[in-house]
């Protein structure tokens, strides 16, 4: 009922998210920070508000899996596929999966969880891949410094097409 029929977007602006489990090589606090920073990237340019919940159901459900995990889209071990997410108008809206076999990090060693999470949460908000290499929704992974990372104009235009711009009254 939270999905707009016929449109690939959520029909509400406050979305809850929950981190179901954690990867081997990152502290839970670092994972929480990475996911928080990833959702903030999108909420900074839209009226969307994200609230983390610890238990129960959530709109966006983040979890780590390895190999086949019963959603029809198996992971492939280290390298290759890093994650996938389901669009709002799919059968599993809000489901965000990361490959547990990757070396996840908050830095430039292995794969930076914040960058991949920003991409996957973009899918869960309704964005498809972009052919623009400067877009975070480009399908292959490119490292950016997380401290200076910004969405490209393409990303901002596409997410605002779905949810609108952030009003000045939304800015805390």
């Amino acid at each position: 009922t939270s999905i707009s029929p016929g449109r690939c977007k959520w029909n509400k602006h406050t979305l809850t998210y929950r981190i179901i489990n954690y990867p081997h090589d990152m502290k839970p606090s670092a994972v929480k920070d990475s996911i928080y920073n990833a959702v903030s990237i999108w909420s900074n340019v839209t009226p969307l508000i994200f609230q983390q919940v610890q238990n129960g159901d959530a709109d966006i459900k983040v979890s780590f899996w390895q190999w086949a995990h019963e959603d029809g889209w198996p992971f492939d071990g280290p390298g290759g596929i890093l994650g996938h997410a389901f669009l709002p108008n799919s059968g599993n809206p809000g489901v965000v999966h990361f490959d547990k076999n990757e070396h996840w990090s908050a830095s430039d060693t292995g794969y930076n969880l914040f960058l991949v999470a920003t991409h996957e949460i973009g899918h869960s908000l309704g964005l498809q891949h972009s052919g623009n290499q400067s877009s975070i929704m480009y399908p292959t992974y490119w490292y950016h410094d997380p401290r200076t990372f910004q969405l490209s104009a393409d990303d901002i235009q596409r997410i605002q097409h779905l949810y609108g711009e952030k009003c000045s009254s939304d800015i805390p």
Partner: protein
């Protein structure tokens, strides 16, 4: 800068080496005899399907998202 894991470097070297046979720099090209250039061109056409396989191989080993394009 893309950060492929160490295991992927082998695949990239392979593709880079393969392409280097055909896409020589302007400095290198004049050094080849006409016969060598013809041989390389023939090999390029002979390996046309292999080339597609290698491009696919390189793509699959690049770190990427598993969401198929245009899929819901």
């Amino acid at each position: 800068v893309p950060v492929p894991p160490a295991a992927d470097h082998k695949g990239w070297d392979f593709v880079e080496g393969y392409f280097h046979q055909f896409f020589l720099t302007k400095k290198e090209s004049p050094l080849l005899t006409q016969e060598t250039q013809t041989q390389l061109l023939q090999q390029f056409h002979r390996n046309g399907t292999d080339l597609l396989d290698m491009q696919m191989h390189a793509l699959l080993h690049q770190p990427h998202c598993g969401v198929p394009d245009g899929s819901d």
